[in-house]
Symmetry: C2
Subunit: 190 residues, 2 copies
């Protein structure tokens, strides 16, 4: 919390939104967000115009961290198959955290139920970029239908995220890597 005290009101609000929305959902109140950030509601409205924009900005700000977590340390190392499996190994690792509640972008999409919400637009972009990355690896690995394989992998990614986040499934025995391996094999992926 000491580093937070030195952050700007804008960054404090974005951090508070990231944490509270992940833990409690998008319906978390503006009062609670401003209180957690130590920023007045008046300042919040001056900085962001409203909660919707603050929520979108908070999700936007987390993208580099989120994408770095899924990406291999060296993007040129390994085979395309290994790079795809790495993404799911990272999800399996993340899900072991007691505070894991699934992919924050999927959660926001499910909770908002509104594709036109500015935060939904950020979440959709992140999801599309992950799918694009998987498709690129599928192409490099010679999958028969890279577009189809990438869509299948996203079903597994989001299904695992939602189920492990909701505590109706656990991934610590390699459930997603086993599933993804079957799909990679079926797609003729090297």
């Amino acid at each position: 919390m000491t580093t937070t005290d030195k952050a700007s009101p804008r960054d404090r609000l974005l951090d508070a939104a990231a944490q509270l929305v992940y833990r409690e959902g998008v319906s978390v109140g503006v009062e609670a967000l401003c209180r957690a950030a130590g920023v007045s509601k008046r300042s919040m409205y001056q900085l962001f115009g409203g909660k919707d924009e603050m929520l979108a900005a908070s999700l936007e700000r987390q993208i580099p961290w989120y994408e770095a977590r899924l990406a291999p340390a060296d993007p040129d190392s390994g085979t395309p198959r290994e790079r795809i499996l790495h993404v799911f190994e990272q999800v399996e690792k993340a899900s072991a955290d007691p505070g894991y509640l699934g992919c924050p972008y999927l959660a926001v999409l499910v909770e908002l139920k509104d594709p036109g919400h500015p935060a939904s637009e950020v979440a959709r972009t992140v999801k599309a970029r992950l799918e694009h990355g998987l498709r690129t690896q599928a192409e490099l690995g010679g999958a028969r239908d890279p577009g189809l394989l990438a869509r299948q992998l996203m079903l597994v990614f989001d299904g695992a995220s939602a189920r492990a986040g909701a505590r109706v499934e656990h991934l610590d025995d390699g459930l997603t890597t086993t599933t993804v391996t079957a799909l990679l094999d079926a797609a003729g992926m090297r």
Copy 2:
């Protein structure tokens, strides 16, 4: 709405909760629910004790409809493989509805983020029962590891539900049946 007018206050509240929570999420207010049902807040609290219990009762009440929708017309017809594929064909059909927002039980689990909430408990039971049914068919069809296959199928089920419900994916080209077919084949399922 004419049939609703004749329904009991309890049923009117459960119907309103089912519709509003599905469309707007679990954070929908008690005022809005009571208004939609044409029932006073006082009556709601007398009938259910609170919103959490009303929400749980509403999800409970939808179970027969939900499960009938996924089940084959004749549970003894077809092969185990066909009965599993039928579940996913039903999801693909449901997702074509413009009002489709994914599986209501998964949505509630993602939104509540609280496994101890009475509505989460209902949702978890429904999910476990579906997984059990898939596992039974996997056993009947001679899958190598029926428990693993059922868990894989649930990843696809919930991933498809979440993604199609959030409008980041469409299932009308048979995405889930293609994916499930690959997993059934990999499991050695007849």
